[in-house]
Amino acid sequence: MVDHMFALFTLGNMQFLLRGAGMTLLLTVIGCTAGLIGGFLLAYARGIKGTLAAPLRWGATAFVEVFRRIPFLVTLFLVLYTAQMIVPRTPLFWVAVVSICLLCSAYMAEIVRSGMESVPAPQIEAAEVMNFSRWRITWMIVLPQAWKVILPSTVSYMVMFVKDTALASQAGVFELMFAGKALANRGLDPFLVFATVLFAYFAISWPLARFGRWLEARLARRTHEGDRR
């Protein structure tokens, strides 16, 4: 046991795991940023009125419904093989980025949509009466109020998502779980290795979850005070 611990907890191994954790964070940040943008575009497209825009609406709805209902693992494999068909020897990092963007935009589209729906309808009707374009209504009236609902949900989605990125290791992408598997394959005690990896994920996820709850409470309090004023 002690021998195993000395073998695992060396400076080199810890740096290796830290690099993996850095990649996990990078994948999460890329996913959530792309997800916010993609989710906003999808939510916006789903709300465009008019018969001509119907295919756009249906397309956006279909995208959201389909990618929310495929397991991340299957999306990852599909992207992996499709990418290799189109571009031979696609870097695995980009495979992970593409699948993460697909998944995150589908999930974030629902978050953004429920945030935008939280804005009282009379405000939007009033703006329509004043002949505001839909883009201006969204940008100047809906989003400044909706972000209070969107932001806390985004952070709690991020908390879920950090843990999903572990699956990217299965496609051979270097991140925290991949680093753990590599160490276990090198002959180090898998019990200790995976316990350490588990702890590392906890150390990333827990503060993020606390931050999310704090943010939610703070924004809820502020909104409440605003109501009273």
Binding site: R69, L73, Y81, F191, Y201
Partner: protein, 224 residues
């Protein structure tokens, strides 16, 4: 780009892959109901038990909701054998899924229990209802009604999550896809078939959950 889609080559394996839906479904059911029972127990411990028990329940929720299921699964399946505990793929899967899901379900059910107002409980007591009657006629309907949408979401989430079981060798939908794709090398065909199967399965599950909610618990839920 020298790849052309050849669905004909996997035609013989299609029934085999599709019947992988059964393991997927039963793992989902077992996990969900076992974790819901455990989660209910934890939620009650958190709200109604002494300070030590409620602390422990809180710790359990924090630990389980902040650990990645995939890593826990690997830990159980690849880490424990070194210490003499050998788990079969299915045992490791069920343990990992139930443990992790119980934390999330405890949080959902805690929210439901907390939403029962004290006034309703007082009124029930004034009417001379027993504790069991209060649980059956006052608390349970209220909790089910408020938590039903979150619970059905989590059910779908669990169903999609079971695909991870394939990585420790459980032969469910994704597991069979991996097996067939490494035998026939028609990976895109196999995985797109499986993706469609998951979409169909989860749409059916959503519709069934919405109907059950409407008929049994009078919950107004969106069909999709």
């Amino acid at each position: 780009m020298n790849y052309s889609l050849q669905f004909g080559q996997i035609a013989a394996d299609v029934p085999y892959i599709l019947s992988g839906a059964w393991p997927t479904l039963w793992i989902t059911f077992v996990t969900f109901f076992a974790a819901a029972a455990l989660g209910m127990f934890i939620a009650m411990a958190r709200l109604k038990a002494g300070p030590l028990a409620s602390r422990l329940a809180g710790l359990w929720v924090t630990l389980t909701t902040n650990s990645p299921l995939f890593v826990v699964l690997f830990f159980l399946f690849n880490g424990l054998p070194n210490w003499g505990i050998l788990l079969s793929p299915i045992a490791a899967t069920l343990i990992a899924f139930i443990v992790i899901s119980s934390g999330y379900l405890a949080e959902i059910q805690r929210g439901g229990i907390q939403s029962v107002r004290q006034a309703e409980l007082d009124a029930a007591e004034t009417l001379g209802m027993s504790r069991l009657q209060i649980l059956r006629f006052v608390i349970a309907p209220h909790v089910i009604k408020t938590t039903y949408p979150a619970l059905s979401n989590f059910f779908i989430f669990t169903m999609l999550g079971t695909s991870m079981a394939s990585l420790v060798g459980v032969n469910e939908l994704t597991g069979r896809a991996i097996e067939v794709s490494s035998r026939t090398f028609r990976s895109i065909e196999v995985f797109s078939l499986v993706a469609v199967t998951y979409v169909v399965l989860s749409l059916l599950a959503s519709a069934a959950l919405a109907l059950v909610g409407r008929w049994l618990f009078r919950v107004k839920a969106r069909m999709i």
